[in-house]
């Protein structure tokens, strides 16, 4: 159905204007690792209270782009980022911006669950403590509890908050990492293949959680699984060899992509 009716176009326009405001915006983002160029002029918007999925074959630059959003690439000596990335209109690479504050606003969950080898409580309490978010011990307890609840982990661990976080199962560990990210009240949460190390049941739990979190947070998720992207995201961006191939509403991307490469990728012809 390529031919659109007048009404259809109008409806589309209305939808556009109804779209939530832009939370983060990448303009002509380029990343070099030493001599090697990993991203080529990527323009991508991340909208508030939506889940944006980044898909594409391995090594196409999804993680690289994601890590630009909270400047985690700063920790890689050879990485150079150019272009402009804004958070609520502010350039995050502006020298005046403090990375510590930026990362408190843009939290991150990693591919492999990486809880600190400390107690469950300490894992969650660490962020609020260093950012001075709790005025008292009771305050901190409250933050820990609500974060664990939001991450859907509280009931499972409430009796063993002082046990080591590394003793949990893989899926629980990943939810603990999400709770840890939530505890500092970020505005955006970046997730880099958060389910790739989890079994299907744990994956389903995390996906459910992501859907719930959308209400309060803006989420950018890198995923290898087309189904996952389709299930949890509202918008999808397809990367290939460092280029942003196509970006749009998830539904459209999966049913009627504009680009042949997207089509090939989601139908499993390469990847």
């Amino acid at each position: 159905m390529n031919i659109m009716t007048e009404a259809g176009v109008e409806q589309k326009l209305a939808q556009r204007t109804n779209e939530p405001p832009i939370k983060m915006k990448g303009e002509k983002v380029n990343v070099h690792y030493g001599e090697k160029r990993a991203l080529f002029d990527v323009d991508l918007d991340v909208r508030e209270n939506q889940v944006t999925a980044l898909i594409g074959p391995s090594g196409c630059g999804k993680s690289t782009f994601l890590r630009c959003l909270n400047r985690m690439n700063d920790t890689i000596d050879i990485a150079r980022v150019s272009g402009k990335i804004t958070l609520d209109g502010e350039d995050v690479y502006d020298p005046k911006i403090d990375v510590v504050e930026l990362r408190a606003r843009v939290g991150m969950v990693f591919q492999k669950p990486n809880p600190f080898p400390k107690s469950i409580y300490e894992n969650v309490a660490y962020g609020p403590r260093i950012h001075g978010l709790a005025k008292s011990k009771a305050d901190l307890d409250g933050i820990v509890e609500s974060s664990l609840k939001k991450a859907g982990l509280f009931n499972e661990v409430k009796d063993r908050l002082l046990e080591s976080g590394t003793g949990l199962s893989g899926g629980q560990q990943q939810r603990l990492c999400i709770a840890r990210a939530i505890a500092v009240s970020p505005e955006v949460i970046l997730m880099d293949e958060p389910c790739s190390a989890l079994d299907p049941i744990a994956t389903a739990r995390v996906e459910e959680l992501i859907d719930e979190l959308r209400e309060n947070y803006t989420i950018v998720i890198v995923t290898h699984s087309m189904q996952q992207a389709a299930r949890v995201s509202q918008r999808t961006a397809m990367f290939h060899l460092g280029y942003l191939v196509e970006e749009g509403a998830t539904e459209k991307m999966f049913t009627n992509p504009d680009d042949k490469r997207t089509q090939d990728y989601i139908t499993g012809r390469f990847g």
């Binding site: 985690m72 920790t75 990693f110 600190f116 080898p117 260093i130």
Partner: protein, 536 residues
Amino acid sequence: MTDAISTLGGGRPVSIHTDDAAKARLKTRYAAEMRFKWLGAGAVALAGFFLVLLLSTVVTQAWPALRMNYLMLPLDLSAAKVDPAKLDGFDFQGVINDALAAEFPDVTSRQDRRLLRGLISTGAGTFLRKDIAEDPGMLGTTVDYAVPLDDFADLYLKGLLADVGTDEAIATTVTPSGTTGDIELTFGDDAMLALARGHGATEGENGALTLTSGAASLLVALNGGTVKLTALAPGDGGTVVAKGLVIEALDSNAPAATGQAALRVIDTPESSRKISDKEIVWLDRLQSEGLTESRFNSIFFFTGASREPELAGVWGAVVGSFLTMIVTLAIAFPIGVSAAIYLEEFAPKNRLTTIIEVNINNLAAVPSIVFGLLGLAVFLNFFGLPRSAPVVGGMVLALMTLPIIIIASRASLRAVPPSIREAALGIGASKVQTVFHHVLPLAMPGIMTGTILGMAHALGETAPLLMIGMVAFIVDIPGGFTDPATILPVQIFMWADFPEPGFQQKTSAAILILLAFLVIMNAIAVILRKRFERRW
């Protein structure tokens, strides 16, 4: 099927992995594996053998030094002898000598009295003075006091002096002609002649034999006394008449029946021995009277150095080593760990840091004596710090230990998985917070292990400390970081150099103490590693 597989006579199909050539290849592979296994096992066995050899030698040598023989003497400390008001210039050794002389009323000649006094350590008076100072209640009475023996007397009682013979019963009657002085002994048969000949007696006329000072000592014990034979001649009716010198007076000149007298042959001539016949007889007497007592050698463990083997202790060196190690740790640990953290976590990777890195690795390989020279030139000559002091020794050893700590710390910092760093940075921890809250605690067991091993290395180091004068002979136990001191390995080195046999045991015992320290330190390192091993 394919030509790679053919079937021979309906058996298993033969392929390139099952034919004869393959079996031969497999066999050589197994043979190589076996050879390697045996070589490895052999190397381990050899190393184990030498370790056991080393330990058993040291332990057997050191064992006797852990105990020491004392003489229990009743000391007359009554007011008539010791004036409590004038203790300062008092001759405490004299009181002890008097008490010993009282045990041997027969010993009267000046020469013999001096020999007798020699059985007792020259430091005995000092101990007595110290004990009286601590417990003035001893004064005014007669007290039984444990007097340390001289090193040779001690060694003799421990049975460590080679070739002092044992008593054997004489299978004939022996008749003495008197009880003191020069006497004659008449033996019931002539077995004695052959025996004396066999032990280096000089032949005289008519079958007479003389036992000169270059011959073995023949001591005959009978009637509660001891006679040293000087000459023998055949007597009437197959008897032997021997001339002898009484060392210990006999009770009577009654004939001793067969088996009642005993002969002791000491093959080493008296002139080439460290302990004379008289001393042997006296010590035997003291021992048989139950006046000697083997006790835990507190002198060795709790006193400082001395030129007298029986008075030399290891405590001064232990304290010196301890003070030195404190200085080393206080300098090397903070600097080493800070340097490692900076290089590993903060320093940019450029030309300069690469050069620094290479040079730290090189420093770890510099011979330790070079650090000693550096300490001499810089700390002593340039900064004018005191010689022989633990503070300087500690600084020199710190320089030596620094590269070891830095390398070990960097390795364990690097072993902390990057995911932990990312986790901390990802929730907005600053670089310093990430390092100090997360990375360093995880690296700490490794850092501590490296530090302890570095310290153990420093503890055993001798050469650099010789350069800064810690080899000096220091009697006093060091009381602070700037007092002159020596350290355990240097003490061992010095003792090993002394000729007295008493120092041999002390050397081994000190080595044992050093080894014990090293084992303890290594055990702590192992425990720390096991205890704090973290999973992530």
